[in-house]
Assembly symmetry: C2
Homo-oligomer: 452 residues x 2
Amino acid sequence: MKTFQLSEKLLKKIADLIQAKKNSPLKKLVKDIHFADMAEIINELNLDEGVYLIKLFDSEKTSEILTELDDDVREKILKRLSVKEIAVEIEELDSDDAADILGELSDQRKEEVILEISDDSLADDLKELLSYEENSAGGLMAKELVKANENWTVTKCLKEIKQQGEYVTRVHSIYVVDDKEKLIGRLSLKDLITSPSKKLIKDIYIPKVDSVNVFEDGEEVAKIMSKYDLEAIPVINNKKQLLGRITIDDIVDLIKEEAEEDYLLAAGVQGDVEADDSIIELTKARLPWLFLGLIGGLGSVFILEGFEEVMSHPSYKALFFFTPLIAAMAGNVGVQSSAIIVQGLANDVVKGSLINRLLKELGLSLINGLILSLLTIVFGLATNLPIELSITISLSMLCVIVVAALIGTSIPIILDKRGIDPAIATGPFITTSNDIFGIFLFFYIAKIILGF
Amino acid sequence: MKTFQLSEKLLKKIADLIQAKKNSPLKKLVKDIHFADMAEIINELNLDEGVYLIKLFDSEKTSEILTELDDDVREKILKRLSVKEIAVEIEELDSDDAADILGELSDQRKEEVILEISDDSLADDLKELLSYEENSAGGLMAKELVKANENWTVTKCLKEIKQQGEYVTRVHSIYVVDDKEKLIGRLSLKDLITSPSKKLIKDIYIPKVDSVNVFEDGEEVAKIMSKYDLEAIPVINNKKQLLGRITIDDIVDLIKEEAEEDYLLAAGVQGDVEADDSIIELTKARLPWLFLGLIGGLGSVFILEGFEEVMSHPSYKALFFFTPLIAAMAGNVGVQSSAIIVQGLANDVVKGSLINRLLKELGLSLINGLILSLLTIVFGLATNLPIELSITISLSMLCVIVVAALIGTSIPIILDKRGIDPAIATGPFITTSNDIFGIFLFFYIAKIILGF
């Protein structure tokens, strides 16, 4: 199998059939398209066409398509569906996906939809799920799971899980609870099949079971599941009662989303935007960081003005030609240092004290800086720059590189210690502050050495 | 559960017990530590201590620890183990992990280890797995799976899978093959339990089964599995014969690694390095991009020299104070544009023609550029800059922003069309080229307007 590649041709064919209201050839055309791919198609259609297509399918397929749509497209389509229609879709979904969709509705519509849901226990489950923070274990978990009481026999258990299993898409483990619903262990389906039918569950279950608290942060859950290679993890409350479970597919989505956000943030793009978003949304995501860059750049105007008199010196004025080089070096080195630290903090490999970390960075930046400075001296010789000027520029650049590396290393660590996401420090923030600092340092050191 | 936090205290206690060769308190101390956490501990110990600890455990735990160690630590530890010792570990592992470890040995040792393996079918499996590219489906898959022949009865199938299941850590699906080993469908364990015992598999299996070709690219497999929420996917050869299966935990690792590499690449750090790597390795990863920045910066020295005469003008010389601002703007805008495109290309959301994409970016950069230019004029007024100079600077900056955005957008798209990873375009590459281009454009436009 290959991932689906949406062609302009298919898109046009679908749009034409919708326009002509030719339902049966339309249904035939899209019958074998996976719901994740149908969502891609609807993302590209206009709203009327999308709503038409959504209403064409039976609710089992529609509900799955809804979960896969782009947030903004889904929001618009949900606005065009009645409370009853949404309730029908919700009932088809796993509770975690259902709660995610409900969470996007206004408070009033949310309540109206829940009132429309005929299955009371589902309605209760959804209300419970909606009460948790979106990015907590509670917000990620689904209520569907297969559990066994420790006092059941193997036969009873097999019968029960056949029933429970009907509502659960994938059975990973059977969780074992006591009479007070406290999670005490797990039972693998494989073990269950191989045990004599009269044995009690309490005699065959595995008492060791990993779980996370319902208030645990989603990122931490992702770390636990990926580190320990778990495909599902049960969620418990403070009384250790079993509330739900989180499956790896939700974690894969979370990991991908966070990686994307960090990547964009490092490039000075804030928030969860995509190339296909509107110009307004993209501007909102980009302008704040550009504004920061502007402030920084205007700051460096003042610094350079302070060294205006250098311009009248016949050979020292060449220092001004080197400002973009210095700013670029300060920025590049700083971004490298901070990115490595941010990544290390995310993977828990940044250990030891800040001092040790800075000493290592000092060594590293000295090596890089010396090599680059020597090359700059060679450049100076080749372009007939006065030798004392070449040496001054190289020495100042070396200092700038070292300082930029130390700033790039320490800011993320300090932010992290104060509980602020260090990812914010990479990119424009570091570049801008290092630009200003680097340029000032460069001219200041040059001034001391050359004595102007 | 929480992720394990390695404390200096625990590390010291372990090191002390190793030094004193107190094996039984040492074993007791680490007994309940998960192998992924043990690997973290060994990553931090020195080599002798690490080897000592590795040899202390039974091979079941050791082998799992080996798979989780940092690459460089594992390489060093493997060098200290005999061929026989490695073979014993290999036999404990799933075939995909075993092949990964074997793949890190020299060709000669690899063969020696395989000769030591007593189980011939495992040795054959490993030789097969080693023949595939590391990042292909074949390189990712494990040979362990549970399969059923279509002509078996439910009873026979249950018996067979109990046997097969002993060697398979997690049973996701039972794959159904015909007499020629061709994959024809799947069977869920749940369905199998609920069917009458005399039914034939061919009457109850689900003929729809997703699979990937053994030569498929690993990134594409990751895309397929995460898009379609698959927890395992069977791998077939060109004759559609079932060869192995890939599970989601391997894909989670792949997704994380690739996200990290892209993140670091965008910050100008090449390759798979971590904060804890040696200074030499980190220098190798960082210096090439800094060198590129140096070349770019020296290039801009030439450009600025070309506008040297502006320095003698009483008020136009202020243009030089604005070069860091212009370079920063060109760099920031370019990096933003390219990051959004790179992300979009990875998610297949960059559709439509290059022209449409550039038109959108034109609109976006005009909005951002106008706002920033107006602010710059305000700044000029506030700092008593001559009004024609303020306007010139703002207009040039607007042009630079627009051009930088267009360059940032088109380079990744062009690279992608030529089959080059567009991720390489973000970061230093775009910053450096936009620096030079931006500075040149800024002075050139200013020259035209002001007529110096």
